[in-house]
């Protein structure tokens, strides 16, 4: 796991966290010196007493050796966790208008305009609901995965890795000034569809994790049986209780936890070509025919 998060990733995360929190910091050679406000002690006082503290942080063991007294911030360390817990208080909800790379759009537009047979090429902002989820699969072990989904509120299409798509865009907070496509789904309906999608996805996972749990469970049952199989009615009852406990230990469960929710408007260029509506979505990198898609030129809240 540590190698999945090399020192540079951790360092970047810490710097971005300091930026976000507005805490003053300096970088002196390999050390980040930051002045942060901490709650002391977090357990006893409500509200806790706030105190300024200076953190001297390094990110590799070599640097830690070079700077005695500096704190090594690595994956799993107390300090990194402290930052992580702090960040979890932020970024739960956002509303952004996304813009694709203007250069790329500029390159495509002349072609679209040339192809359009009726009317101009219109820019429309299409509303999406983005949800990042942590999926935890439990048996007697636990594995967690992060899944980023985006659903088109006008058509219900679902995109995986949606955050990666969004990261290609330039964001402006708030609702776009221009034309907005009318959403067909309510947020509740959209979330419902995401749940259906996740349920299918989870069932389609490589089943080896639950097969292993099932194998372990059966092994435990056989063992238990060896102890109780000659028993009387009372022991049969105990056997059944124990078996239930074992099932509780090994049965597979998945919990879905939302990390954050975002409403995004993604740019789309629509035009008519020989009586058919076409759409170019630069962030999704696709151009397609959209039969029967109703595009109402109205400003509408997402």
């Amino acid at each position: 796991m540590a190698e999945k998060f090399p020192a540079e990733v951790i360092r970047r995360f810490v710097l971005d966290t300091l930026e976000l929190s507005g805490a003053p910091y300096r970088i002196v050679d390999k050390v980040i010196m930051a002045e942060v406000t901490v709650e002391i002690p977090a357990m006893f006082f409500d509200p806790p007493r706030l105190e300024k503290q200076t953190l001297n942080m390094v990110f590799t063991p070599e640097d830690a050796a070079g700077y005695p007294g500096a704190e090594l911030v690595s994956w799993g360390s107390y300090r990194l966790n402290w930052f992580i817990e702090g960040v979890k208080k932020r970024g739960g909800l956002t509303l952004q208008t996304a813009e694709a790379d203007p250069a790329a759009v500029e390159k495509e537009l002349p072609g679209l305009r040339a192809g359009a047979t009726a009317g101009p090429v219109r820019k429309v902002n299409r509303p999406y609901l983005a949800v990042n989820y942590v999926l935890s699969r439990y048996a007697d072990t636990l594995r967690e995965d992060l899944v980023s989904l985006g659903i088109d509120m006008t058509a219900g299409e679902i995109h995986e890795d949606f955050l990666a798509i969004l990261q290609k865009a330039k964001m402006t907070p708030g609702i776009p000034a221009g034309e907005i496509a009318r959403p067909v789904l309510s947020p509740a309906e959209a979330l419902n569809r995401l749940h259906q999608y996740l349920a299918e996805k989870i069932l389609a996972w490589d089943p080896s994790w639950r097969e292993k749990a099932r194998r372990c469970y059966e092994e435990e049952l056989i063992c238990l049986y060896r102890y109780y199989h000659e028993g009387n009615a009372d022991e049969r009852r105990v056997f059944n209780e124990r078996a239930r406990e074992l099932y509780e230990k090994y049965r597979p469960r998945v919990t879905v936890r939302p990390v954050n929710l975002g409403f995004f408007y993604l740019p789309e260029f629509v035009y008519t070509k020989k009586d058919a509506a076409f759409s170019y979505q630069p962030l999704l990198g696709r151009r397609e025919r959209v039969p029967g898609l109703a595009i109402t030129p109205r400003n509408d809240k997402g």
């Binding site: 970024g91 509303l95 992060l146 230990k249």
Partner: protein
């Protein structure tokens, strides 16, 4: 139940994952209602934070990085054998194991590591730790100082459901009302310390623990069984019923007789699946012990008092049923007179109050002799030792409160402030006293009575003085175990003070030369522990003392006893765990 083989098989459906979905709109209700839109940077950073915090089924232990700073502060070094134990318990053993390390190798630390690791991995939330009452606070202190876990110690009635990490004494937990409350709950992890108290399936202790609902389960004991294979069967079956079959099949397959195993190869591999026993050896070592035996000549009045009391004890002891004094009291008196006149005076005073006319006279004369003794020669030696090592902290052990008081006041007069530690102190006072001894440089000396000897860890100190000797060798080992245990980084010094011409002199010789008690590191010789648990040394010493007419006879009889014990110790005992586990 035979013929119901279908119970072994689960259905496909039972192992389809149960998925629970959140209600996102309620989770984010406040933000949505207030239109509390955060920035794009915060939104993405939040996802990165979650990504860094994802819990996975790692090979490596999370505690090693997460608790690094905490362990540096607490002075805890995770030993290789401990880390390996944690990995095995969580990996191969699926969280159910008997931790049977030898005393002093840190079973509690291993258990703490496992608890914390499971919590960090997100697999455990609700934990119950059952320990003897005397160790509750120590568990709580260890967990908070070394693992950043903050347990609640359960005492009277409480809302068990409210707390996730509970420490409870077995005695408290087995009260009917509490037992019912506990057995209604489902624990993710149950830990039982000193689990050899569960060797008998008909006891309340056993039934309580067997009836707890739990996913992961740790039993801690250095002595999973003593000589009786049934005890071993019981304990293993408590952990994982069926691991050794049922008792009928276990007897058939593995028991030649009560104390003798057969098919040991098979038994060994079954035991190893559920039990980890780390022992001292080439990979796990402690710093050496240096033992100095310091004989000293008593002053003539001390010698006279000793003789007078010993004569009295001998006479009374021989009168057997006709004796007015209880033989146990006589034993105590004899031990006291070896410690100091002050200790003996207390018992004499009590005897005097109860005695009849003729006995009363004898006792009064003994008391007068005791009253004339204002000092104890041993103290001169103690002060000398303290003078020679002015930087060292010292533990002084005595069996008796009166001796403890005397040592303390003598040291006070010499300008050496000393702390006292005894069984009558409240738990918080004990904690505070140890804390003071550790951190306050003014206090170089702590005087402990035997009651203070169990369960406390004083590795920061490495010198101890045995002002008197306990007659039970295991108690002596326990004293040494306070400072000579894992975590001790320096050589350990043990000073034994022995007054010449007393029974203690013989006793020490026996322990040093025949039992080789000071050479061995406890647990290294389970056999010796077992031996003295079955054969009380006190009673045999007392018998020798009482039957010997002259000094010479005493010498001879003691020599004979020593030979006897040496021979008995060399005899192959019954079945022994280490033999069972070793290939």
């Amino acid at each position: 139940m035979a013929g119901r083989a279908e119970v072994f098989f689960s259905t496909e459906e039972e192992f389809l994952p149960e998925i629970s979905f959140p209600d996102e709109l309620r989770i984010f209700e406040n933000e949505l209602n207030n239109e509390a839109w955060d920035t794009w940077e915060a939104f993405t950073l939040r996802v990165r934070a979650e990504e860094l915090a994802l819990r996975q089924d790692f090979e490596e232990l999370l505690i090693l990085t997460r608790l690094k700073d905490c362990w540096e502060r607490a002075g805890l070094i995770p030993y290789d054998h401990q880390v390996a134990t944690v990995k095995r318990v969580i990996g191969e053993m699926r969280g159910c194991a008997i931790l049977a390390d030898e005393v002093g190798l840190g079973k509690t630390i291993e258990a703490g590591m496992i608890i914390k690791e499971y919590i960090l991995r997100g697999l455990v939330k609700k934990v119950l730790i059952l320990t003897p009452a005397s160790l509750c606070r120590q568990w709580a202190a260890e967990l908070s100082q070394k693992f950043e876990l903050y347990p609640v110690i359960a005492r009277g009635f409480m809302d068990w459901d409210r707390y996730d990490l509970i420490i409870c004494s077995l005695d408290t937990a087995k009260q009917p009302d509490r037992r019912q409350a506990l057995q209604r709950l489902s624990f993710d992890l149950v830990v039982v310390d000193e689990a050899h108290k569960l060797k008998n399936p008909s006891t309340l202790n056993y039934r309580l623990v067997a009836g707890l609902k739990k996913k992961f389960f740790l039993l801690l004991t250095a002595t999973p069984f003593q000589n009786d294979l049934k005890e071993l069967f019981t304990l293993i079956s408590l952990l994982r019923p069926g691991q050794l079959g049922n008792y009928r099949s276990f007897r058939q397959r593995f028991m030649k007789e009560k104390r003798e195993a057969k098919n040991t190869g098979q038994l060994r591999s079954l035991l190893r699946e559920v039990m980890i026993r780390n022992r001292r050896g080439p990979h796990i070592t402690l710093p050496p012990r240096r033992v100095a035996t310091l004989p000293l000549a008593p002053s003539p009045p001390e010698r006279e008092f000793y003789r007078a009391v010993t004569d009295f004890v001998r006479r009374e002891y021989r009168r057997q049923e006709k004796a007015t004094v209880n033989p146990l009291t006589l034993l105590t008196l004899q031990r006291e007179v070896c410690s100091s006149s002050f200790a003996a005076a207390e018992t004499l005073y009590r005897l005097c109050a109860k005695a009849g006319e003729s006995d009363g006279q004898k006792i009064v004369s003994l008391m007068e002799k005791a009253g004339r003794l204002k000092e104890n020669t041993k103290m001169n030696l103690v002060e000398e030792i303290l003078r020679q090592a002015p930087e060292e902290k010292f533990l002084i052990f005595t069996e008796f409160l009166a001796t403890q008081q005397y040592i303390r006041s003598r040291l006070q007069k010499s300008g050496i402030p000393a702390l006292t530690f005894d069984g009558s102190m409240s738990a918080s006072k004990k904690d505070f006293t140890i804390h003071r001894f550790r951190s306050d440089p003014r206090y170089r000396v702590m005087i402990c009575t035997e009651a203070g000897g169990e369960g406390i860890n004083l590795q920061f100190c490495r010198s101890m003085i045995n002002y008197d000797l306990p007659w039970n060798p295991m108690r002596l080992e326990q004293r040494i175990g306070r400072i000579h245990r894992l975590g001790q980084t320096r050589e350990v010094y043990i000073y034994n003070l022995v007054t010449e011409g007393t029974i203690e002199e013989h006793l020490l010789k026996l322990l040093v030369e025949k039992v080789r008690l000071f050479d061995l590191v406890i647990g290294n010789s389970q056999q010796i522990i077992d031996y003295f648990q079955k054969n009380s040394l006190e009673a045999r010493v007392m018998k020798v003392l009482a039957t010997a007419e002259t000094e010479q006879e005493l010498d001879e009889k003691f020599a004979a006893l020593s030979e006897e014990i040496e021979k008995e110790l060399q005899q192959p005992g019954g079945i022994n765990l280490d033999q069972l586990l070793e290939s």
